[in-house]
Structures are given as C-alpha cells and as structure tokens.
Symmetry: C2
C-alpha cells in the first residue's frame, strides 16, 4: 500500500479511500491511484483490513454435509442474499463427522465473521447456545427453539399433510408411510402423516425405514407381502422412494396403475424422466435467503429470536394416480 501511495504520489490514507470506493476522492487522484495499484499488482490484504476496521463483511456458512443437495442449495440461497447485501460468503463443512463440525465452526468463529448460518449440525443444544453467544447465529433445519439464535425450518408435518391430501383425493385409503426413525426431520414427517390420516378416519400404516434406497426397497418388499397391501406408499424421502420404485418394478407391479409412490424433498432424482416421482418440494434456496435476512437483522441489532417455518409444496408427477382396487 505504501508502494502504491508512493508511486501515485499521494498518502497511504488516500489509497485506502480509493480502495474502499469513497466518494471523497477527486477523479484525478482516483485514476492515479488505480493506475499505480494496477501496475504494482496491489490487492488489499483482507486480514489487515478486517483487523483494522473491526468488521469482516463476511458471513460464514457451516454445512453438515456438502454432498447433500439440501445443503448446497441452502448455501446458494445464502450466497444470493449475501451478494445482494454486499457481503462475502465463506463455507466450511463438517464432512458428516461431529468432530469435523467443531473444527469447521471454530474456523469460522476465529475468523470473526459477522455472523454464522449453521446447516443442520449434530450439535447438542448447549453447543448451539455457546456458539450463539459468541456471534449472531441462524440455524437452518434445527428444531429446538433457543432464544439466543434464530431458526429457519421446513414445515415437515405440513408436507406430509399435503401428501395424504393428494392421495386421498385420488381415492386411496390404504396408505403406508416408510419413515426414517429419528433422523433429522423424520419424526415430524411421520407425525404429520399420522395426524393427517387419523383426521380422515384412516388407519396410518407406518413402516420402519431410513433415508436411503435400501430402506425403501426393503420396506416395499414387506409391504407388498401383506394380505392387503397398500395402494399408495409414501416414503420419508426421494432416495427411499427410489428403492420402493425399484422393488415394485422388479416384482412387476405397475406405478402408478397398481400402486402410487410419493417421495419427499424433490431432489434431482425425483425429476428424472425414468423415475418421475411425485414428491414434496422444499424451497431450499429460500431457506438460505431467509436465514441470511434474519442474520443481517441480528447483525444490525435485533435481539429477540425469530423462528420461521417455511411451507413446502407438493409436486405432482407420474408416480401417483387414481386408486385401482381390482
């Protein structure tokens, strides 16, 4: 910076002003400084800048798992909202291990980013509390309602409600849900299903499962061996639904003619022509955007916690159809 100042024949402070696009610089000097910076290949050192200014203009994003499209779309929403607010985004990932998540959060905390968006970490309530005390924090897809941080969640139960609504309107009454135990979001989906069924006077059939293809395959196998197999199967997520589809196909059951299948998440899988799965769409980018907006509010002073529930939407494709009791 000194070099640039010297070359342009001005003070260091002026260079600083130019680099920050201050309006209190004459066009003349601005041009000189920019030219000198260009010639010297100067670029401001972010560490020094942030240290001196006391703010980083950066928001940190910690993601549980970069492989999961859920999180990357979330990050995309954050990036979009942050860009709009003129802030930078730095991402760290826990790579699915809790120790990794701690490292990732520590990195961000040491960096003193203006705030942190946490995508569904495995942290205990206490750890979250601790983080939220050190910096503005918004958790996405994490259900406990701390008052030290904001949260943005999908209204999981409502998604299940939409599915039951859709299937019953097609005439289905024997509907089975393949759940995913206590995995994040699964209990809410299951409860939503049971409530919606009960409300309609229907018996909720629930089968143990998981968020993967194998679980769907296995559960479908068992379900189809019942005396009265269900006419519709609602899997806890798309991957599981894919397993269901694979099994049904292998035993010659037609979809949706004989059995309707529904997933959850609307991942890229669901949209594939070869699967064309009816599923529950979560506006994942919107999650990121809202999270960032909440974070910015926090950063500029709000102290009362906000907890948002975002409504999912049903996407109807060709894996569901009218019931066929033949």
């Amino acid at each position: 910076m000194d070099d640039v100042a010297a070359k342009a024949g001005v003070s260091r402070a002026l260079v600083s002003l130019v680099m920050r696009d201050s309006p209190r610089v004459s066009d003349n000097s601005r041009a000189k400084v920019l030219q000198a910076a260009q010639d010297l290949g100067y670029r401001p050192n972010a560490w020094a800048r942030n240290l001196a200014s006391g703010q980083t203009n950066t928001i940190g994003v910690m993601l549980n798992d970069l492989h999961n499209p859920y999180f990357t779309e979330l990050a995309e929403g954050v990036a979009a909202a942050a860009a709009e607010a003129g802030m930078e985004v730095l991402i760290t990932s826990g790579w699915q291990r809790e120790s990794g998540e701690h490292t990732a959060i520590d990195t961000l905390l040491n960096l003193r980013t203006d705030g942190i968006v946490v995508g569904a970490a495995r942290f205990s309530s206490e750890v979250f509390e601790e983080i939220a005390q050190q910096t503005p924090t918004v958790a996405v897809a994490y259900f406990h309602e701390h008052d030290s941080m904001d949260t943005v969640c999908n209204h999981e139960a409502h998604g299940s409600e939409l599915v039951v609504e859709h299937l019953t309107s097609l005439g289905h009454t024997r509907i089975a849900h393949i759940d995913a135990g206590n995995a994040p979001g699964a209990p809410e989906r299951r409860r939503g299903f049971m409530t919606a069924m009960t409300l309609r006077g229907l018996a909720p059939i629930v089968f143990d499962g998981d968020f993967n293809e194998h679980a769907g395959h296995h559960a479908a196998e068992q379900l189809m061996q019942l005396n009265e197999p269900p006419t519709a199967i609602f899997a806890a997520n798309d991957l599981s639904a894919t397993g269901v589809l694979a099994h049904l196909r292998s035993i010659g059951v037609r979809v949706p003619d004989d059995v309707s299948v529904v997933g959850y998440d609307d991942t890229v899988l669901a949209g594939l022509g070869a699967l064309s799965l009816t599923t529950v769409h979560q506006p994942r980018q919107l999650f990121g955007q809202r999270a960032t907006e909440l974070l910015l509010e926090r950063i500029s002073g709000r102290s009362a916690a906000k907890h948002e529930l975002i409504e999912p939407r049903l996407v109807t494709r060709s894996s569901t159809g009218p019931v066929n009791e033949s």
Copy 2:
C-alpha cells in the same frame, strides 16, 4: 488477550506462546493462562494472528458449482489431505456464473490463503496465469498445461477406451457415442471414443448432445430411428445416459437385452437400483488429495510444474450385456 494476560498475571507474549502450544512454557503458567482464557471466553482472532505471522495456514478451494457431486467430492479430498497436514480449508463457489467465480477467487486472493485449489473454472488461460502468479495454484479438471501452476486431471480418453473395450468384448460393433460438445472434458471423451473404435476397425458413430438428461433423451430418439440402430449407446455422462434409459423404456426397448447403455462419472444416479448403470468411475476424492499434496509441495518451494493424469475405472452394472442381433 491483554485481559487474559492480566488475569493470569503474565505477559501478553506468554499468552501468545500458550495459544500456539509452544514447548517453552512451564506447565504451571500454561495452566494459569488456559484457565484465564477459559474464564474469559477468549479465542484468538485469526485475522490478527495471520496478519502478524504472515501466514494463514489455510488453503482455499474455489469450486465452479457446489451442486455437482464431482466438486464436492473433490473438496472432500482436499479437506482430508489438508486436515492431515494441519491446515484449514475455506471454500468459495462461483455458482456456475463466471462473474461469481471471479468474486470467489478474489475473496480467496484477498484472504492470502497459502494456496488455492481451483475446481474446473471457466477462466481463460490468461486469468489462470494471473492467479497462479499471485499464489500457489493447482487446477483440477482443467486441461491447459501452464507451467506456472500444477494440474490434476482425469484421463478422460482412457475412460472412453475402457467403455469401448467392455462393449466390444460383449460383441457390440455398432456403438454410438452421445457427446457433450465442448463442455469441459467432453472433447477428450469423444476423442478417446473415436480412437478406440478406429483402432478396432469399427466406425465411430457420434451424436451431438450435452451433459444433461434431455440431450440423452433426444439423441436416443434419433439413434433408434436409424435403419440400423446401434446395439450399444455410450453417453457423455450419467445424466445423459439417464435420458437414454428413459427414452428406451418409453418405446419398449429392453436394457440391456436389446440395447446396452453406458454412462460416465459414476454419480449417485448410476448406483440406483432402478437405473443400475454401467459407467466410468473417477476417483474424485483422490483428485482432491493429490491436488492438495501438489499444492503443499508448491507452498514449500517447488517451482517446476507438475501435471498429473489419474486413471479412471469401469464399473459394470446391469445396463450392459451381450449383443443380441435378432
């Protein structure tokens, strides 16, 4: 830090030593300092630390597109290798737009990370050159051979060779390739296919396509209308192959009984039971690891460029079978 020093009754410098795990501190003082830091909730400020020490102990990763599993697995490899070397990892993404990539790289450059791993950016050769001049750089899946930076690439052509080898060993001779124009990697895959076919005295059938489902669908439609349709279709990637599968299914052509289908990349799609696609597997995590190793070598002084080509592997699933000329 001053507060911690005061509370522990020692100098600021000693606190610094403790925070850096220096061996030249007595157990007694170390305990005192650690206790004081704990009580005060002190955590070192990374910006100040890096500014003062002149090194960041961090490597930056710039990814073209976080949604693409290719890149996230790459990042995972980087993270693993970096963790082993005791370095932190910071990720930025260009979100598929070139302007975004520039911002992302600038963020990293301003951060003065010790080095940068770039995952297949759309940058021109000159831009790459410019980046490499400012900091140690390794490009992954980028084919130009600069001598100012290292590269790690998949041996794309060899993957195609493996596919042709596999198909011809099953008796196929009319093999079509659906390519992806000039998209990154596509020309190499196409050339590899053509070479391998020609070498066996077979006519390479190449069809225009792209790296998406629709392209595969469309190309398959055209291919099957030929007087002598191919008995095997090799798509430029898994997504495209999925489109092929969807079309074949829709017109009642059985896979692999009537036509064999092969993809490229071995994404999660290929492994799904409902698709079970034979495909070319790229060791993406290995790319990240090698890239990081090369980067660390660069950081510690190597100046001659290294360019590595990594061998892919064929994964045989149930979308390919013996030719059936009926």
